[in-house]
Amino acid sequence: MTSDAFSNRHPAVNFLFFLGAIGFAVLIQHPAYLIAGALGAAAYYLLLSGRKGWKRIGMLVPMFLLLTAVNPLFNTYGERVLFHVFGRPYTLEALLYGGAIAGVFVVMMLWFGCYNAVMTSDKFTSLFGNLIPALSLLLVMVLRMIPGFIRKAGQITLARRAIGLGAGEKNRDKIRHGMGVLSALTDWALEGSVVTGDSMRARGYGSGRRTSFQIYTMKRGDWCLLAVLMFLAAAVIAVSAMGATAAEFTPVLSIAPVSGIYALGFAAYCAYLLIPSVLHLKEELQWRRSRSKI
């Protein structure tokens, strides 16, 4: 991912969007909403990750089919029996219900894929730094230490191998080698943490109230985008409360129609889902246009 118009917005906007998108995906099992969710998430995922995204989506398809097909094996409710498996009925309703559950799973996976690309760790910590300062500093420090540990462990392994203390063939040797690396790593880490502690205290850590530096600021555009998102989400919630998203699969199939005022709710949902993709494409087009002018 190089640049993405939606990722460049304030982390709070990013976070709230994903909260809404994933929340709706989990709570609403209406097929139309699921299909819209899958399309919206897949579109943004592909825009974010490019060609590599197809691979992941390709992996989700068999998962979807499997989950769908498995549900009727456990759930035998339903009127229309398609055939019998081990003497148990395999019903159409249960199959559709399986499809809905699998759909929820797929949409969630796709949204989480987008979430990982957009909400980097620093965005998350800067967002929650003010709420829980101590915890967020801890998180930041852990994030910094993990790659350090991995690098040092590699260094120790190489150093030991170059004096003939590498992991041998036998399991016993391997365990001994592992213990050696771990012991060296612990000493090293302890010494490092003493220095880190000194460095923190030398810079006034623990000398009184702490503030947290905000590298992101809410701009006017961010507020506007947030307002639009809130409005659309409210619309979806409102029609949902009226029953627009009701969907029962078993024992009797009953799905709310998408028409009249319900259609408006569905349109709001689609608009909500498409916002990141639209922002991304809009920027892309803008660049193309300005480039062609040159």
Binding site: V140, I156, L158, A184, D198, A202, G204, S207, T211
Partner: protein
Amino acid sequence: MAQIEIQNLTFSYPSGRSALSDVNLTIHRGEYVVLWGKSGSGKTTLLRHLKTVLTPYGKRSGEILLDGVPLTELSQREQAGKIGFVMQNPDDQIVTDKVWHELAFGLESLGCDQKTMRARVAEMACYFGIQDWFHRDVANLSGGQKQLLNLASIMAMQPEVLILDEPTSQLDPIAASDFLNTLRKINTELGTTVIITEHRIEDIFPYADRAVMMDGGRVIADDAPRATAEHLWSSGSGMFSAMPTPVRVFYGAGGTGECPLTVREGRNWLSRAFPEPPKHTALPERGNAEPAECALSMKEVWFRYEKDSPDVLRGVTAEVPRGCLYAIVGGNGAGKSTMLKAVCGTCRPYRGKIRVFGRPVEKTPNLFQGCLAMLPQDPKSLFVGKTVLEDLREMTRDEELLAKTAALCQITPLLQSHPYDLSGGEQQRAALAKVLLTQPKLLLLDEPTKGIDCFFKETFAGILAKLKAEGITIVMVSHDVEFCARYADWVSMFFDGQILTTDTPRRFFGANSFYTTAANRMSRHVFQNAVTAEDVIALCRKNREDTP
């Protein structure tokens, strides 16, 4: 008015070891003071006393005043803001995972408001040229960048005094001189008082206002650099060997007038000393012995880490004769360490042959028993035990061999200490002892002089000479041009994944004009192949004897 006043400071550790005795020191606003001495002389202990949160536990008497106020009466917050402290290890000092966050860390701790923080962070990023890597992960920075970040994040708090404890010891020479230049800029442009300990004294000495020398916990000299040099020479102190090359040449050759401190001054002084081209301009080259058997040969070795990554080794070819000290110099990230890994067999080249004593590396069984061993760049990666002895016992049960090796590496008195309690030079020697217990015939050293002061370097060179006398072949990669010029038998230039030239130190450094020793840069307009201070002195004397 004095900014910092240390009055009769005496300190001893809880173990009873006395670290400082009766130290008196006055530092004025805006001064650049270098504190130096052998390791263990109490430099670090003294520096840590200038900041109460870092002061070690122990028995103490005497007083430290900052602007006339005892340090202990200042609140932690005031001290954090007024006194900045940069430590040795660039990596461990960093707290957060992002560059921007690290810059703001001190300000966050002091409870600054957003607006001030924003301005200060931006200001510091610009001043230190950090804008380009402002959003990066700290893990992806080079050592030099990390240390610069540490300095910047302290300067963001706008301290009045900056204290640095061997800040460049873990950096390569180019990054180190960059760092020291930035420090000088801070001192001259902002007037921040700088107190620094440093073993790379050559780079600081000419610019420092004062050199404070410590020995055994006492301040034994406190004077301008030139005066310190003269004092050391006339008192015949062993510390004189730490002086910059021009100083050593000047006094060693019996120069008169004002002592030169920089290469430029040294050149001018030599020009005045030899207005006419001198009679002897070159030292005799050591006669090349008949070519010895090859201990290590590399033929057209190619290597890259991943299929799609660029080649790191691009056809390395070299032959290392048996029983010599073979040094490979070159810039950072040129692939020198990778080459050593290839020799060890930890990196498999995809083309080319590496032979150790005539046998291909990959086909030598028990390569690391009695044949080949490598001392890693960071000695800490070898320590696993609670004591040095325990660590050595991991390698061998043979107590006699152990005792002999410990004696050779001069670590016998340290055997009961924890490896992490040793100084950098001692750790280096303990690690070397561990490596030597495999009884290698070919020893590989990766940056062995990193983080070691000049006194330890001499000890280390002595150990290497003894190993050579036992017939061990030593290959070392290093940035340390001065060390290689003085002690190596052969020097190779590593650049762009290849070994470009190989020659004896005199011919090698004599032919270079930038990548060479201070002595050579200072004397190359008069002499042809003088590469160490001793060489220049010898030539000066020889010429003087011949002119009545």
